[in-house]
């Protein structure tokens, strides 16, 4: 593959997921980064792609209600007789 074969379309639709998780073949990664060095729109695209990931991680841990584990045990016990 030559440098020119990495287009914005190919970078965004085919390569980005491997690039981001670090599983891209080294030679292809270098070509992708060469494309980025002269393509500001793709740099912006990757920035927003990463910001999406960071945003999603904010959906994680919340405050957990006190005694939730006890409430779960009570709930299951009530519905399954006295087995628990």
């Amino acid at each position: 593959m030559t440098h020119d074969e990495i287009t914005c379309r190919r970078l965004i639709l085919e390569c980005l997921v491997d690039y981001e998780d670090g599983t891209m073949v080294e030679a292809e990664r270098l070509q992708l980064e060469a494309h980025l060095s002269h393509c500001p729109p793709c740099v912006v695209f990757i920035k927003t792609y990463r910001a999406t990931g960071r945003t999603l991680r904010m959906l994680k841990p919340r405050e957990i209600p006190d005694n939730l584990a006890d409430a779960v045990m009570k709930f299951v016990k009530e519905r399954c007789g006295e087995k628990k």
Partner: protein, 208 residues
């Protein structure tokens, strides 16, 4: 570490299958916070999240016999939890799923991007209040995804589960999983970018 986690899970699973109450209690202690956290992310309401958590553990207790021990327990259980959260969400607000193709970026014939992206919203997430607002919107966008895409993005991007484990649970190839993950991310990214491009609507919600 993931292997150790699964080994402990499997020991508890076998205990529960044999009717060991203590094993069930340990499973509740081990995962109630993560199940609640997931349910809250989907439902965004503490009461609903607590009820979805209870339903999830009830299903665990009743259906543990259907779990295939050759699979990773937590990925299986996480899907049970997702299904409970979304079935509760659908009762509350039916959502129609979307066409992912419509959210794909546009390209010119030569492969260049056809539209200029706005980077500003990506900088905005440095502000915690804005980031939280966007995260809430993102949860709504995930809800619009077809189920196979929705589950993948939750499990990998929100829960940080290993893609290989998720692929195994969903019984799809790693390549297929990555494809779904990428399409789901592109959809959410596009919708978040649209918010940024519509400042009036965003300001109304008090962000940006």
């Amino acid at each position: 570490m993931a292997e150790d986690q699964n080994a402990v899970d499997l020991e508890l699973v076998r205990g529960i299958k044999k009717g060991d109450d203590q094993a069930f209690r340990e499973m509740v202690d081990r995962y109630h916070a993560r199940v609640y956290s997931l349910a809250y992310g989907v439902l965004r309401n503490p009461e609903d999240a607590e009820e979805a958590t209870q339903d999830t553990f009830l299903t665990l207790y009743r259906k543990i016999g259907t779990f295939d021990e050759s699979k990773k327990f937590f990925s299986w259980f996480y899907r049970v939890a997702l299904n409970h959260a979304y079935s509760r969400a659908r009762r509350r607000r039916p959502v129609s799923t979307v066409s992912l193709d419509e959210a794909l970026p546009r390209f010119q014939a030569d492969g260049h991007q056809a539209s200029r992206e706005l980077a500003a919203w990506a900088d905005g997430i440095e502000d915690e209040a804005i980031a939280k607002d966007l995260a809430e919107r993102a949860a709504g966008f995930i809800e619009e995804l077809p189920e196979g895409y929705r589950d993948v993005i939750w499990m990998v991007d929100v829960e940080n589960m290993r893609p290989v484990d998720v692929a195994e649970t969903l019984e799809i190839s790693l390549a297929a999983l990555k494809s779904r993950l990428h399409r789901a991310r592109l959809y959410v990214r596009q919708r978040l970018s649209e918010i940024a491009a519509a400042p009036a609507a965003t300001q109304k919600r008090g962000a940006l």
